[in-house]
């Protein structure tokens, strides 16, 4: 019914494996991970966990953005602004107000990284009280909009670890239905004690490099990252004769409705999300060339996701890998960074390895790609699942 095709004309990323798209690609192709002990802040769990941390201080990030000294940017906002500005530059947008442009960002804990430092003393001085308003989940989105000059439609999504995939999905729908001409979509999340301790109490953090889809996986590595895509309508692409990096071809959102934090045994939510995405893309399962799986490396997720994949693809599960052993699990940003990796896969006709894999999960008997492999790719599917049963799938296709 809705004919507008949605093109991706720019992307930006900061993650533990690089501060630009090019750096991220280089790390992926060299199988170089970004997992290490945490250094940016002190935590009692220093020796128990490894994380995907961006090795820049807040002061360095603020200097890069040329912020005034008394700014109240949380790390979440700093990372988000840097990645979003890269995306806009890559899409060669000169005057952002020329087309109806929206911004849909996502985050899990917003400015929690600053809240947890100032919570008990917000009113001791101005240096603390300025971080009250940066706590709100909307804060990083508004700061990104200010940096980019977006004055109209902006909003923020928070569906835990599937957030950014839902931002990409909504942006696509708004262009497809002609509501907007261009939408900047993605997510940002900084490491915080709040999330580290939360996942620690759930006993799903690995004390070593995570091993997605491995029989002996011990849990996940948390990460921090931000990534944004520029989605544009056919009309803008044609008018500017713009380079199309890839298209958003399909999307699906479903709820597992099983448990607040655990995935169901039959992967129902994941199954429904993938099924819907294939339907929207109007393609058959066998047309999927590569899957960037959610693959957090927790015992529960990988088994449930694997079962859902087998329900969709039968015994012929396409080539797949989880890139979380490179970046760690960047929560709300995960769907966007893996969106960038899926697009890089299509652009370079290459699949990235699932690091640290040794033995297949006995119940599944499926083996991910473990090294860099070149192959013709037309359709890449990317999964993102989160607490609350929120499951989302995106399908990207090759650009022109």
């Amino acid at each position: 019914m809705f004919q507008n095709r949605v093109a991706i004309t720019g992307m930006g990323i900061v993650s533990s494996i690089g501060n630009t798209v090019e750096e991220n690609l280089k790390s992926l192709l060299k199988s170089k991970n970004g997992i290490s002990p945490i250094i940016n802040f002190k935590t009692r769990h220093l020796h128990d966990i490894k994380v995907g941390e961006i090795l820049k201080t807040n002061a360095q990030l603020a200097t890069f953005l040329k912020l005034p000294k008394d700014h109240n940017y949380s790390r979440t906002a700093l990372l988000g602004c840097i990645a979003a500005k890269q995306a806009v530059a890559k899409a060669k947008i000169k005057d952002i107000s020329l087309h109806r442009t929206g911004l849909i960002s996502s985050t899990s804990v917003g400015g929690m990284d600053m809240t947890e430092r100032h919570f008990k003393k917000f009113h001791e001085n101005k240096n603390s009280s300025k971080f009250i308003s940066s706590h709100y989940a909307s804060d990083s989105t508004e700061k990104i909009a200010d940096q980019l000059g977006i004055t109209q439609y902006i909003t923020t999504i928070s569906t835990a670890c599937s957030s950014a995939a839902n931002a990409i999905m909504l942006g696509t729908r708004l262009i497809k239905t002609g509501q907007l001409d261009r939408v900047i979509v993605g997510g940002t999340d900084a490491l915080s004690k709040f999330t580290i301790n939360g996942f620690k109490t759930l006993l799903i953090l690995s004390d070593t490099d995570c091993a997605p889809f491995d029989a002996d996986r011990k849990g996940l590595n948390l990460g921090e990252a931000a990534a944004y895509l520029i989605l544009e309508s056919d009309a803008i692409v044609d008018e500017g004769n713009k380079e199309v990096l890839a298209y958003v071809e399909g999307y699906g959102n479903a709820n597992d409705a099983f448990h607040q934090t655990a995935s169901s045994d039959n992967g129902e939510g994941a199954y429904l999300a993938m099924r819907k995405a294939l339907d929207v893309a109007n393609i058959q399962p066998e047309q999927i060339d590569y899957i960037n799986v959610h693959g957090t490396a927790t015992p529960n997720n990988d088994l449930s996701e694997g079962i859902a994949m087998k329900r969709i693809f039968g015994e012929r599960v396409p080539d797949f890998s989880s890139t979380k052993a490179f970046t760690g699990h960047a929560l709300a940003a995960a769907g966007a960074i893996e969106g960038v990796f899926s697009i890089l896969a299509l652009q370079n006709q290459v699949m990235f390895p699932n690091l640290n894999f040794q033995t297949s999960i006995p119940e599944l008997k499926i083996i991910p790609i473990t090294k860099v492999i070149n192959k013709p790719l037309k359709y890449v599917l990317s999964n993102s699942f989160g607490f609350g049963g929120n499951c989302s799938t995106l399908i990207f296709s090759k650009g022109k």
Binding site: M1, F2, R44, H45, L103, T107, S108, G110, T115, E116, F119, K120, F122, H123, S129, I132, H135, Y136, A137, S138, E142, A145, I150, T151, Q152, Y153, I154, T155, T156, I157, S158, T159, A160, N166, L170, R173, L174, T177, Q179, K193, F194, N197, G198, K200, T201, L202, N253, A254, N255, A257, F258, H259, Q260, T261, G269, G386, F387, G388, G389, N390
Partner: protein, 342 residues
């Protein structure tokens, strides 16, 4: 976009709104700095054992969603979309305090699990066994409007026939005190108390006997000046093929702070001859307070009656067809919502 009918509504607020037969006839005047919602008996909606672990927002959300579905005689929607400004602040505070006070030791996962912004939508999905589309919006004062806009889009795309849309914010204990202090330090502070509430609506592609009204359009605007908002408003009406004179009621999110100038301009310059309505003095200010305003508007259209407690002027009309809502917070997060009788 395609027609969207509001078929079920529910409100839990600092007024006795949970009783569907009342419409702000007898209101409570609140004078404290923060006001809690008047809570229904949650045992009627939630298993008491499960309920013990649930924070205020989750309980309010489950009860209000059930009432909204019942009022539309709907068992399970095709999609659940929620908005919340502060999210599950009670559990967030609880977990944050344990981390700080116990130096990252002796923590239990329950409050962390329940602290995520999508907890309410997830718990409703679990309660209803609803596996459909499920998203939570967290953009301050346009969190509810973002959810509503998504619901309208889903109906337009034929992806759903019935969508449950809701907004929840709970007061919490600590963070709100910091907000109150920081507000008091402003030159012209918010005069209404800070509040909490849950508002749920069923939005459907087909009209039914008990339909409240039709949702015509929503627009979200990040930044505007008190002058430029007038142009935005005229453009919004124009896109919906309406003239200023077609608007029968204007519902405004006034809270007494310096940013009320945005409302005053519209009241004085564009809408001085029609009924003007405010509501935050009744429900308090919170990020999803505009959903209370939306609840008021849906009731005005269904009942064709404006309660005295919400009137900003003495203008009355014999018939109310088009109701326009406008809300903003601190000069940002502007939204227009247009409802029409059906």
């Amino acid at each position: 976009m395609k027609a969207c009918f509001i078929n079920g509504v529910a409100s839990i607020s600092a007024q006795a709104t949970f009783n569907q037969s009342c419409f702000l006839e007898d209101v409570i005047v609140h004078n404290s700095k923060t006001i809690n919602a008047i809570h229904p008996n949650y045992k009627d909606f939630i298993n008491p054992i499960t309920g013990r672990r649930m924070a205020t927002g989750v309980k309010m959300g489950i009860a209000a969603s059930k009432l909204a579905l019942d009022s539309a005689q709907l068992a399970c929607p095709d999609a659940i979309i929620t908005g919340t400004g502060m999210g599950c602040i009670e559990d967030s505070e609880k977990f944050l305090n344990s981390i700080i006070e116990n130096d990252e030791q002796y923590l239990t996962p329950t409050s962390f699990i329940n602290s995520t912004h999508n907890t309410v939508a997830a718990q409703i999905a679990l309660t209803l066994d609803c596996k459909g589309y499920n998203v939570s919006y967290v953009h301050g004062s346009v969190s509810f409007e973002s959810a509503l806009y998504d619901a309208q889009l889903l109906l337009h795309e034929n992806e759903a026939s019935n969508v449950l849309v809701g907004a929840v914010d709970e007061l919490g204990n600590q963070f709100i005190q910091d907000i109150v202090i920081s507000e008091e330090n402003q030159s012209q502070a918010i005069l209404t108390p800070f509040g909490e509430g849950a508002h749920f609506f069923t939005i459907s592609s087909s009209r039914q006997d008990g339909s409240y009204c039709e949702l015509k359009a929503i627009q979200i605007i990040n930044i505007a000046t008190p002058d430029s908002i007038q142009e935005n408003l005229k453009e919004f009406l124009n896109q919906n093929r309406l003239l200023l004179s077609d608007v029968d009621v204007i519902v405004l999110g006034c809270n007494g702070d310096e940013f009320d100038c945005y409302y005053h301009n519209l009241q004085r310059l564009l809408f001085d001859t029609i009924p003007q309505i405010h509501y935050k003095h009744l429900c308090g200010e919170f990020f999803t307070a505009s959903a209370f305003g939306f609840w008021v508007a849906t009731n005005i259209l269904k009942k064709q009656y404006i309660p005295n407690s919400v009137k900003l002027n003495n203008v009355e009309k014999s018939r109310y067809k088009n109701v326009l809502l406008y809300n903003q917070f601190k000069g940002r997060q502007h939204s227009f919502t247009l409802l029409t009788s059906c």
